[in-house]
């Protein structure tokens, strides 16, 4: 290969990259919190609620699970303002899009974990005469939430990765700033490799953590 690599060029842009990373992290954390909350509520409503509510929410979930996140972003960035007649900042648009996406996948996580609480646990509740409220609040929900934790963590890692898509709609996250530096310096190999490495350094420990948490929970629920 007829090229020399010079990673020192990145040192000129540490501030810009840090700023981009900060935007990425801020956006990701906010959408994790909002999206998980949304997903929890929707998961519950889809597990009970009336048929119309269930149907509409099912439509929402399938729409966001069945289409590329990129087109969801484009839709929220370019179509939603036209429909509502309101302009949103990039950050708000990105938050809406990623929260809706996170809500959809997380609601499926909660639904699956609610179903995974066995029928025997319900039998035990009845045998103990627990009122309906206590059955749900004290027995079913805590177990469902605990069982959901590993998948919720992987959802969070996914969202961290998906957040890089906001660069495509012009939001100055880590990926966007990396691409800009890469274009301006004509040094894509060094710059883009470092950007990839930054994402990796954050996502990798989190995926390990998912495995550890999963094993701990498996042991707990083997009872």
């Amino acid at each position: 290969m007829g090229m020399t690599l010079d990673f020192s060029i990145l040192l000129l842009f540490t501030d810009a990259l840090a700023l981009g990373l900060w935007t990425t992290l801020r956006l990701t954390l906010l959408c994790i919190v909002l999206g998980t909350t949304l997903g929890f509520v929707i998961g519950l409503l889809r597990s009970s609620g009336n048929a119309v509510v269930r149907g509409l929410l099912g439509l929402y979930v399938e729409l966001f699970r069945g289409t590329p996140v990129l087109i969801q972003l484009f839709w929220i960035f370019f179509c939603l303002p036209l429909i509502l007649g309101v302009e949103f900042s990039n950050f708000v648009s990105a938050t809406i899009a990623l929260t809706l996406y996170m809500g959809a996948i997380t609601s499926e996580t909660f639904r699956a974990s609610l179903r995974s609480v066995g029928r025997e646990q319900m039998d035990a509740c009845v045998a103990l005469g627990l009122p309906r409220r206590a059955q749900i609040v004290n027995v079913i929900l805590p177990q469902a939430v605990l069982r959901a934790v590993p998948t919720l963590l992987s959802n969070a890692v996914s969202l961290f990765k998906e957040s890089a898509l906001v660069s495509a709609v012009g939001m100055a996250d880590l990926m966007f700033i990396g691409q800009n530096i890469s274009n301006n310096t004509a040094r894509p190999v060094e710059v883009l490799t470092v950007v990839a490495a930054i994402y990796f350094v954050i996502a990798f420990p989190l995926t390990r953590a998912v495995t550890v948490v999963e094993q701990k929970l498996l042991r707990k629920f083997s009872a």
């Binding site: 045998a127 005469g129 206590a134 009872a223």
Partner: protein
């Protein structure tokens, strides 16, 4: 004895019909009358409806016909497609299952005090005090703060029994409570049940352990094909059955060539 109608029975099951779906009939007109203080052990071949019978008495199942009275009052009855269950009476019955069914996210003590607090509104302190006493009685005093996953099967099953007793039940149901246990852990659970039996707790039990059945039962019911085939004292049903089907079953489980 099916004609005893003076209402003094603790449990009175009449003409009980139960099916799963349209094709699988499990109970086909079953009658049992259990007097206060009795310890009834139900034996019989797999699929004969023993566990279903206990689940019906616990109020866990819909029934298609018949009724159950408890303490002289109407408790469960089939009304058309619906099963009417008196949930207040149901609270006086406790049940222990084959697979422990402890709540895995709660500590042992929390498992014990959840129902007394939520069902009877007992204070946490008072429930804990009673819980600790029961745990100590069952040799589990040190395990109050442990979680179910940290206990052996035998310990879990003793906790499950303690949890049911916290509500001061007037009847205890045991559904194959030692079947999932390693052989060396069976004795500790059976000892706890015998202890309860000695204290006069009425119980109805399904077990495959014929020796234990003989030890604990005041009465044995042989159930097959969804009906009661034979009903009598343990010496009779287990030792010298009158019915041919009971005799075959007993001989088979005791490995005696007929």
């Amino acid at each position: 004895m099916a004609d005893m109608r003076d209402g003094s029975a603790l449990v009175e099951i009449r003409d009980l019909h139960k099916s799963y779906g349209p094709n699988i009939q499990v109970l086909k007109g079953l009658n049992i009358q259990m007097m206060p203080g009795e310890r009834v052990v139900v034996i019989g071949p797999s699929g004969g409806g023993k566990s279903t019978l206990l689940r019906v008495v616990m109020g866990l199942e819909q029934i298609q016909g018949g009724s159950v009275r408890f303490g002289g009052k109407p408790y469960i009855s089939a009304k058309g497609d619906k099963t009417v269950i008196d949930t207040e009476l149901r609270k006086q019955i406790g049940m222990v299952f084959q697979h422990y069914t402890l709540f895995p996210h709660l500590s042992i003590m929390e498992n014990l005090i959840l129902a007394p607090r939520k069902v009877h509104g007992e204070s946490r302190a008072s429930a804990r005090e009673r819980g600790q006493k029961i745990l100590e009685r069952f040799g589990l005093g040190a395990k109050a703060d442990a979680y179910p996953s940290q206990l052996s099967g035998g310990q879990k099953q003793r906790v499950a029994i303690a949890r049911a007793l916290m509500l001061d039940p007037k009847l205890m149901l045991f559904d194959e409570v030692t079947s999932a246990l390693d052989p060396e852990l069976v004795a500790e659970v059976e000892a706890v049940i015998l202890q309860l039996a000695e204290s006069g707790m009425p119980m109805m039990m399904v077990t495959h352990d014929m020796w234990f059945a003989r030890n604990v039962a005041s009465r044995v019911i042989f159930c097959a094909g969804g009906v009661v085939v034979e009903d009598g004292p343990p010496e009779q049903v287990l030792g010298d059955p009158r019915e041919e089907r009971t005799r075959e079953f007993i001989n088979r489980v005791f490995h005696i060539k007929a």
